[in-house]
Amino acid sequence: MKDKKNKSLRYRLLWPIRNEKWQPITIPVASILVSFIAAAIVILLLGKNPFQAFYNLFQGAGILPKTSYAGYKSMLTDFLSLLDAMTPLVFASLAVAVALRAGLFNIGVSGQMLASGFLATIIVGYSGLDAIIAKPLVLLVGMVAGGLMGGLVGWLKYKFNIHEVVTTIMLNYIAQYVISFFIHMYYIDPISRQSKYITEAARLTLVNVQIANLKMDIPLGFIMAIIIAILIKFLLDKTVVGFEIKAVGSNRNAAKYTGIKVGSNTVLAMIISGGLAGLAGVTYYLGDFASIQPKVLTSLGFDSIAVALLGNSHPIGIIFSSFLISIIDQGSTYMSSQAGIRQEIASVIIGLILLFSACGAYVKHKVSRLKEKEVERKDSES
C-alpha cells in the first residue's frame, strides 16, 4: 500500500513534464532548472549567494538593469552586445543541426568558420569597397567558402567513403595552420599580433552608433540569423529537398530503396551545413572582432554542437537555446566582478545544462512507464 502511495507521489511530482505533446519544450526547461539548482549548490558551497550571482548574470547580459552604467552605456547596449555574440552561435548551431538531420556529424564548424572568415577578410575586408556593396559581398563570400568546404566533406564521404568526422577534423587542422601561415606572412598587425583590422564598411556589426545619448553596437547579422532559421525550418519541414535529407538521415538504406539519391543528398546537406558555418564565420570574425587571431580555432564551433542538441536540432529551438547559452556566456564577466565568483563557473553551468538535457530520452521513457503504471493502479483500485 505504501509503495503504491509513493509511486503516485512520484507520478504527481512529474506533472510538469507529463504531457507528451509539450515534452520537447518541458524537458529542456526542466534540465535548465535542475542545472541552475546544481550550480546554486556549488555557489553556496563556495560561500556566495546564488541568487545574487544569477541576478548579476542576467544584469551582465543586459536582461536586467545594472545599478550603474558607464557613459553612453545602458541596458540596451548590453542587450545588443548579447545579440551580437549570439548571432554566430545561431548560424553555427543551424549548421550542426542540418548535418545532423542528414545523419552527418559536422565537427568541422570551427574550421569552416575560420576559412570563410579569412577569405571574406582578405577579399572584402581590406578592399575599401563601399558599405552597400561590401556587406552583402562579405555574406556571399562567407556562404560560398563555407559551402565549398562543407561540400568537399560530403563529396569525400560519398565518393571515397571517408568518414566525415575524420575529414572535418583534418580540415580543421589544415585550415588552422594554413591560415595562420598567411596571416603571419601578409596580414599581421605587429602590435596586436592578429590580422590587421578590416575596414568599417565591411563589418557586419555597426560599432559605436550614437543614438539618443547611447553608443551601441548594432549586429546586422542578427535579423538575418532569425530569418535563416525560419527558412531552414521551412526547407526541412515543407520541401522535397528537406524530406529527402531527413530520409537519408534516419535510414540510409531505406532511403536508397525508395529511390532517393543518397550521395547527392549527403553532399547537398554538407553544402548547406558548410554555408551556414560560413555565415557563422563572417558574423564572428567580421562582426564583433574585425580581426582574426592566428592559430586559434574558436570553441564556438564545438559549443554549437551542444547548443543544436539542446534545441532538439530544431531551428526555432536553436534560437532559444543559443539565447540562453549566450546569456550565461556574456553575463559571466559581470557576475565574476560583482559576486566574486570565478568566471569559469559559467561554462560549468552550460556543461550541466547539456548533461541533463542529454538524459531527455531517458526521462521521456521513464515518464511514459510511470504513466502506464499509474493507469494500472487506477484500474486495480476501481
Binding site: I162, N172, Y177, A306, L309
Partner: protein, 319 residues
C-alpha cells in the same frame, strides 16, 4: 633524422593507447567522441594528485610521475562512468553524450584548477606545473644505425604503453571477453542469446577507454606540455578517433596510423628547422600529417566499415 624518430614515437604512442581505448568502446557498439574529455580529466586528476602529494611530502614533482599516471588512469575511468551511464543506462544519444562530456571536462577542470590553486596554494594560476618526466637510453642498442634512435631518450611511459598495448591486443582478439566485446558491436542479440549481458560488456568497454585515455592524457601532460592547463585539450582525442577510423577499427592498422601522425608531425618540424625558414613556415609544415592522412584515406577507405551496431542503443526486443 634521429629526432624525427624520437619525437615521433613519443607523440604517437600516447595517441595509440588512447585510440586503443576508442577501439574497445566502439567495437562494443558505443560511439566514443568523449576521448578528448577523458584524457583531459584523467590528466587533471593525475596532475592534481601529483601536485598535492608532492606538496605534502616535499618530493620533487618530476618524481611523482608514476603516482600521477596511476591516478590519471583512475580519474579517466571515473569520468568515463558518465558516458557509460548516459549512453547505456539512460539510453542517451551517444554522440550527444560524447560532446557534452568534452565540454563538461574542459569547463570543470579549468574551473577546479583555478579554484584549487587559489584555495590550497593561494596562487592565482590556471595550471599545475609538472615538468618533464625523465628519459633513459639503452646504451647497448642505441648505437645501431637508424633504429638505434628508438632506444634513445625514451620516456618510461613509452615502455608502459607498449606493454599495455600488447596486453590489450591479446584481450581483444584472443580471449572470450574480447570475442564477446566485438560481438556486442556487430550483433548484440547473439551475445544476449548466449546468456551474456550486453550492457555489462559495453559498460566495461567504455571504462577501459576512459582508463587508457587518462593514461594518454597524463603522458602528454608530462612530456609535450610539461604542465596541466586547459592547453591539454589540443584535440588529440579527436586525432585518436581519426586514427582508429583510419585503422578500420583494428589495433595494428591503427598503430600504423598513429605512427604516421607522429612521424609526419616530427618530420614536418624537422624539415622546417633544417631549411632554416622563418618561423611562420613551420605552420605550413604542420599540416603535413593531416594532408597525408586525407590523401591516404582516399585510397584506403573504400573497404572501411564501422562495427554494425555502432551507436545503436541495444534493444532486447529488436530482431
Amino acid at each position: 633524422m634521429d629526432t624525427i624518430l624520437i619525437d615521433g614515437l613519443s607523440f604517437a604512442l600516447p595517441l595509440f593507447i588512447m585510440a586503443i581505448g576508442g577501439i574497445y568502446s566502439e567495437k562494443s557498439g558505443i560511439t566514443n567522441l568523449a576521448l578528448e574529455g577523458f584524457q583531459g580529466f584523467g590528466a587533471f586528476i593525475g596532475a592534481l594528485s601529483a601536485v598535492l602529494i608532492a606538496n605534502a611530502s616535499g618530493a620533487a614533482i618530476e618524481d611523482m610521475f608514476y603516482v600521477a599516471l596511476l591516478f590519471a588512469m583512475i580519474g579517466g575511468m571515473g569520468f568515463s562512468v558518465i558516458h557509460a551511464v548516459l549512453s547505456i543506462k539512460f539510453k542517451a544519444n551517444q554522440v550527444i553524450s560524447g560532446v557534452v562530456i568534452n565540454i563538461l571536462a574542459l569547463a570543470l577542470t579549468t574551473f577546479l584548477t583555478t579554484q584549487i590553486n587559489a584555495l590550497v596554494f593561494g596562487a592565482a594560476s590556471d595550471k599545475f606545473r609538472l615538468g618533464v618526466s625523465e628519459r633513459f637510453t639503452i646504451d647497448a642498442l642505441a648505437n645501431i644505425p637508424v633504429i638505434g634512435a628508438v632506444f634513445t631518450n625514451v620516456y618510461p611511459f613509452q615502455v608502459i604503453i607498449i606493454v599495455i598495448a600488447i596486453f590489450a591486443w591479446y584481450v581483444l582478439y584472443k580471449t572470450k571477453f574480447g570475442l564477446r566485446l566485438r560481438a556486442s558491436g556487430e550483433n548484440p542479440q547473439s551475445v544476449d542469446a548466449a546468456g551474456v549481458s550486453v550492457s555489462r560488456i559495453r559498460f566495461s568497454a567504455v571504462l577501459i577507454s576512459g582508463l587508457l585515455s587518462g593514461l594518454a592524457g597524463m603522458c602528454f601532460a608530462y612530456s609535450i606540455s610539461a604542465q596541466f592547463s586547459s592547453g591539454i585539450y589540443m584535440g588529440y582525442g579527436f586525432l585518436a578517433i581519426a586514427a582508429l577510423i583510419f585503422g578500420n577499427w583494428r589495433i595494428l592498422p591503427t598503430l600504423a596510423a598513429c605512427l604516421l601522425f607522429g612521424f609526419a608531425k616530427s618530420g614536418g618540424m624537422y624539415i622546417a628547422q633544417a631549411m632554416a625558414l622563418p618561423s611562420s613556415f613551420t605552420d605550413l609544415f604542420m599540416i603535413l600529417p593531416y594532408v597525408v592522412t586525407l590523401l591516404l584515406l582516399i585510397f584506403f577507405s573504400k573497404s572501411n566499415r564501422a562495427p554494425r551496431a555502432l551507436g545503436e542503443i541495444y534493444d532486447k526486443g529488436k530482431r
